[in-house]
Amino acid sequence: MVELKLTKKEAYMQQSMENIKSNTPFSEFWRKFKKQKLAFVSFFFILFLIALAIVGPFIVPYDIAEPDYNNVLTGPTAEHWAGTDAYGRDIFSRIVAGTQISLYVGLTSVFLGALGGTFFGLIAGYYGKKVDAIIMRGCDVLLAFPGILLAIGIIAILGPGLGNVIIAVAIFSVPVFARIVRSSTLAVKSTLYVEATKSIGAVPRRIIWKHIFPGTLSSIIVYFTMRIGSAILTAASLSFLGLGAQPPSPEWGAMLSGGRDYLNIAPHVTIFPGLAIFITVLAFNLLGDGLRDALDPKIKD
């Protein structure tokens, strides 16, 4: 048997380590994240929005599609908290019901975009050379279009509708994620532990999946959160332009569009859906900022 020579300190550490609960990377992250007050609040606000998206349509006080011609374009009152629109429908109920649509569009489109972008980014970053050149030039082409213009172009091909909005937003999220993931991949790929894994004889798939992907995950999460905000905004813009959700859908962008003609006499018809978009996008951006600070290994407290 090999003689084990441990210093006193090591022996002591060993002893104490048996008792102390291990610090997982997650508990470390959570401790840092709690210090980001704004992000922390945003996080709970977003949880609230998600809950609202699930139960919202069942708990709203008014039917969201039933017109009420006795109460057309009334301002905020005790009965109609956010007033009514041109058909007398309760705006507050419609906003609550619309949460589902906005979150659904934002999450799925960015998720699809992140999925594709992460795949291409990992491949481009790990294999380099020609694969990298082809993928990244493709991304450059897509990034050369202004986002909303590209989305309009894609919808022009696929036709208007919420499903196609999701596809359009997903497609123009792909190059953004590909770039971010590629740059993190390059950084992680050059680390010694990846070299060590190679020297063990691991196959590329294992190296990418077990070592490089987890290393890029923090930047993916940060960008994911930030992109949701802009995806919701883009989806609302497309709906506003009549390319996304169609009336009478309570999509926030479509509601804005519906209130546009009454801006002078009934500003509340546009203000409240606008506020909903504003607060939601802001919450996602703040959460993204906070996550970045909490996940960045360089910022030590």
Binding site: E3, P25, I200, K210
Partner: protein, 325 residues
């Protein structure tokens, strides 16, 4: 004499320097410029040299992490030089590496268990056997099973290097290439790790290639020592021979720089003038002539052959005989 585990024939590793626009001439950093040696089964061969002399590159070429530009590597009688990544993969369990920096060579997101288990997974060891093997390895390197579920950042440098060694040992390799395994550690920890390496060598009949720049460390662990300068070997012999009668002027200078823990001893230090020349444009003839106190015209023109002057004593110097006496 025991058989050769590894034979290295004239390997070279050139890194292309970025070409300038419109310039057709390709330039290279000659990190390793034609070195040959053999490693016998069960011995420890140290490769020493100052920073930038190509010793780590040599280690990486031997590990097949870098592809040699030229030359041949023969491992247990098989030429492994031209093998593709897929062909070399199953052979990798025969030779493993211990890295210099124990902080960077362990993935911070994996637990110690996952790190040590990885080579076992890669080489398709049964799941049931893996858990036992991890505990066994931890104990072999002087840690214990309670450490298995911790993360690398919870360990000291010395403990991390133990984890790195456990990972290298996991698949029962025959050859371990240790790239400055102790240079990132405190002096007090260094000797523990060196003793661990020695014990393991005895226990598992390992062969080491030990890359280092610290001669006192080398003296402690090696059987034979190769001295490298600017991508070439200048001297290769047994440890006792090298420390007693070094023949190459560069080796002499290196040895004279080893600190002696006795303030009353007056040392005769050979101070080399100048810096190590750029490996992109190495000096003509003997690459050491720019700094050699004995350089003559012949050294500037003719590349000295790496020749066996005495048994087991190779030197690349035109005047080794005269300087030795």
């Amino acid at each position: 004499m025991s058989q050769n585990l590894l034979e290295v024939h004239n390997i070279k590793k050139y890194f292309p320097i970025k070409k300038k626009l419109f310039s057709k001439k390709k330039e290279f950093i000659k990190a390793v410029d034609g070195i040959s040696f053999t490693v016998k089964k069960g011995e420890t061969l140290s490769i020493v040299g100052e920073s930038g002399c190509g010793k780590s590159t040599t280690g990486r070429v031997l590990m097949k992490l870098l592809e040699a530009t030229e030359g041949k590597i023969v491992f247990e009688g098989n030429d492994i030089t031209g093998l593709s990544d897929d062909e070399i993969r199953p052979l990798r369990k025969e030779f493993q590496m211990v890295f210099q920096d124990p902080y960077a060579s362990l993935n911070p997101r994996l637990t110690v268990k996952e790190i040590i288990e990885e080579p076992l997974i890669v080489h398709n060891i049964d799941k049931a056997k893996r858990a036992d093997r991890v505990v066994e390895l931890l104990e072999v390197v002087g840690l214990n099973k309670y450490h298995a579920n911790r993360y690398p950042h919870e360990f000291s440098g010395g403990q991390r290097q133990r984890i790195g060694i456990a990972r290298a040992l996991a698949v029962n390799p025959k050859l371990i290439i240790a790239d400055e395994p102790v240079s990132a550690l405190d002096v007090s920890i260094q000797s523990q790790i060196l003793n661990l390496l020695k014990d393991l060598q005895e226990k598992y009949d390992l062969t080491y290639i030990f890359i280092a720049h610290d001669l006192s460390v080398v003296e402690h662990i090696s059987d034979r020592v190769a001295v490298m300068y600017l991508g070439r070997l200048v001297e290769l012999t047994t440890r006792d021979e090298l420390f007693a009668t070094p023949l190459h002027p560069y080796t002499k200078a290196l040895l004279s720089a080893v600190p002696v823990p006795d303030p009353t001893v007056k040392r005769n230090r050979i101070i080399l003038k100048g810096d190590i020349p750029s490996p992109a444009a190495p000096p003509s003839g003997c690459t050491f002539h720019t700094r050699c106190p004995f350089a003559q015209d012949r050294c500037r023109e003719q590349i000295p052959e790496f020749r066996e002057i005495e048994k087991e004593h190779f030197v690349a110097c035109h005047f080794a005989e005269e300087l030795g006496s």
